[in-house]
Symmetry: C2
Subunit: 428 residues, 2 copies
């Protein structure tokens, strides 16, 4: 971890910049995959599964029997933990539902807005070393609360053609309609275009490697909505003298273990906090199974020693962290000054991992400074807010002349005419 | 206008498909413009202004004097109409504000969500034949309500270096912070990267030609958020025997006059409605100043004669219109069955132009089937919803073991460790 004292200007900008991933070459690899899935459907999916997942599948859709087996394999204490997490996530996301809005903007003019679920959504869960069943909860629970009619989940099988039982257990628990053994860019293509086995969806959610990310970008440009622009996960910790270096160290490590490209930064006014945190990191690194990954991520990471709180806040707002931990005396007061962040963890007993799994907030959050303009996944992400308006005869009589005037000034005479023919009819 | 009876399958799909615009070649033209603005700032903007708008400007920022002059030039009755529209738009968008959400998901675990304004936003208003001051209202009013700190408006000057007075009047009325005489792809570049005169913003809103659209797509991929994927404007009218053919005709025409690529469709169970509407269109076309544009748009447009309401609803949900007019006996009941649309106009006295200008709903809406997954512009578009969580000692004690269990099952041991060190500390 690099240490910077009172950085400013270019030095600060460079320290806060995330490593840029060029997707151009990746897109060249991904485009033929998308085309092929579009043209050949399931046949292409079986072929890519053989090629990339090294297994010859006989069917893509996970069967009821497979789910039943998975349910038996997951141990009771893990099931109980998942159920606890589900309950908290549900409680927080249920509160995000919105009532129909009805406003009489002027006499006789009623304007309304209503949340209507996106009919079909696709959830992508990556394979690889960590079976992200927690992401199944985070993506499916708000979708169910929103009322989406069909939830389709794609995830790659292992070499034996199987999916991790905790993923199947969680998917079944939250009511996924269809689970498919399809991974990578080909899964994104299948969700965007539809195949014999995979229903075409209107919005695709979920993390993935750079092939998945590139595929999501391409289908998004062509009209399938996606959840968020993707980037490596990241955490910023702001610590004052009340912080506990062991807590900070393990928080930084829990982000660093995600991937070698993960970003972690520490901002503090106390030089001693940095020293002790670095010492604690070294101590805790030793026994970590993902030590190598974490070490790589820490090489690119920075601890900032700043003069005062206002300098700290300025750095944090500039960085716009996906996760921001405020390990300070009065975290609520500091949080008031934060304008850019995905999710904020208040105080010494709110580690990021609590929110990653079970506190109730969503863990699908804006990375790579997207928090400047984007929100994390919520029930909002699964609905469209349709507006409505109804003018009464009197409403049209009173508003009509204003509309005619404005339409005329914009040179759009048919717009004016649509009012005029009605006013004429009413005055007959 | 083409007429189709009970279409299904491929015939229906083809009829509902929007003309695809290939932006690939446009992007090749736009990319060097973006690069140039990024590298040379204002100097590039002055150069492009000379090249595309045919005027040598001495300054890019509109002065107070120019605004004062514009205020004098706009006639009082137009001012009054704009103020009426502003009042309605404000009233509807004020109701969209959200309170902070606070949920205790489990004892000792508080989760919160709060809307925080995007700090700086850019609004693009196109030049061309129609001075879209109504779009200034639609984009700026929700931004002000959201609390955005800086609103930057770019719009191209005419050959005399001037901006239409109604645009300046409206921009000043709604409290735009900075108005710049910059148009086209170069304006999008300036807003995304910042120049000496143009502040860098985090999200760009507003319509534009294909160069603007391509530029927005490119900067969006690189991290500047944009309002919506762009497409030509469109309306669908669903009419039963209670509809008035003159109303339908002028509604269709008011969409058709937007551009030669505008889309209008009519769906009805009554053959006679189609006949009379076509007759009325011919009658009203004659005197329209934008007749040629409207005629071109109508060539590509379709009237569907269907068997019953359920066939109509199915077509309308498949089409997912930006604007949907329900000119039927019980529009509210029909609206309940619509799951895909941008904004819905209920009944015979709710023409699209009312919503385009002054009823209170926003006119920046999803086109080209984006209504399957996107909402129109609202106060939501100008905020990020940041989540917060605070665990008390007891909250962590009770939730911690579940988090440890899940983290372990995902193989993320540092995530577990961040809990364990805290629990150990608490149990000391």
């Amino acid at each position: 971890m690099n240490v910077l004292r009172n950085p400013s200007g270019e030095e600060l900008e460079n320290a806060l910049r995330r490593p840029v991933k060029k997707l151009k070459n990746i897109k060249k690899i991904v485009k033929p995959i998308l085309k092929n899935v579009k043209a050949k459907g399931d046949r292409a999916l079986f072929k890519y599964c053989m090629e990339y997942d090294h297994v010859q599948l006989t069917h893509l859709v996970v069967t009821k029997k497979e789910i039943d087996n998975a349910n038996k394999q997951v141990k009771d204490d893990l099931k109980q933990a998942i159920i606890t997490a589900k309950k908290n996530i549900e409680k927080f996301h249920l509160a995000q539902q919105t009532e129909e809005l009805v406003v009489e903007t002027s006499p006789g003019i009623i304007c309304k807005r209503k949340s209507v679920p996106i009919e079909r959504v696709g959830l992508y869960i990556p394979g690889g070393t960590a079976p992200l069943f927690s992401t199944v909860l985070m993506l499916a629970i708000p979708a169910k609360i929103a009322g989406c009619r069909e939830l389709v989940l794609c995830t790659p099988p292992n070499k034996k053609g199987k999916i991790h039982p905790a993923i199947l257990y969680s998917a079944n628990l939250v009511g996924i309609d269809k689970i498919l053994k399809v991974g990578g860019a080909q899964a994104i293509a299948a969700l965007a275009y539809g195949t014999e086995s995979v229903p075409k969806v209107y919005k695709i959610f979920g993390p993935g490697n750079q092939y998945v990310t590139a595929a999501k970008q391409i289908v998004a440009e062509k009209g399938t909505a996606i959840d968020l622009p993707a980037g490596p996960s990241e955490v910023a910790v702001y610590a004052d003298e009340t912080a506990n270096p062991d807590f900070i160290a393990t928080d930084l490590l829990s982000q660093a273990e995600h991937g070698a490209d993960s970003q972690v930064i520490l901002v503090t006014t106390k030089e001693s906090i940095v020293k002790e945190t670095l010492k604690s990191i070294d101590k805790h690194l030793v026994d970590l199974p993902r030590r190598k990954i974490a070490e790589k991520a820490l090489e690119e990471s920075v601890a900032f020693i700043v003069k005062n709180e206002s300098q700290a806040i300025s750095i944090l707002n500039n960085y716009a962290a996906e996760h921001l931990i405020l390990a300070v005396k009065n975290p609520e007061a500091v949080a008031e000054k934060i304008i850019n962040a995905g999710s904020i963890f208040l105080g010494n007993y709110s580690p990021e991992s609590a929110g990653d799994y079970a506190s109730g907030t969503n863990h699908t959050l804006p990375t790579n400074r997207a928090a400047l303009a984007y929100s994390g996944v919520s029930v909002d992400s699964y609905v469209k807010k349709i507006t409505y308006q109804r003018l009464s005869e009197d409403g049209l009589r009173s508003l009509g002349p204003s509309v005619e005037k404005m339409a005329e000034a914009e040179g759009l005479m048919a717009h004016k005419l649509a009012i005029s023919v009605r006013l004429k009819y009413l005055n007959k």
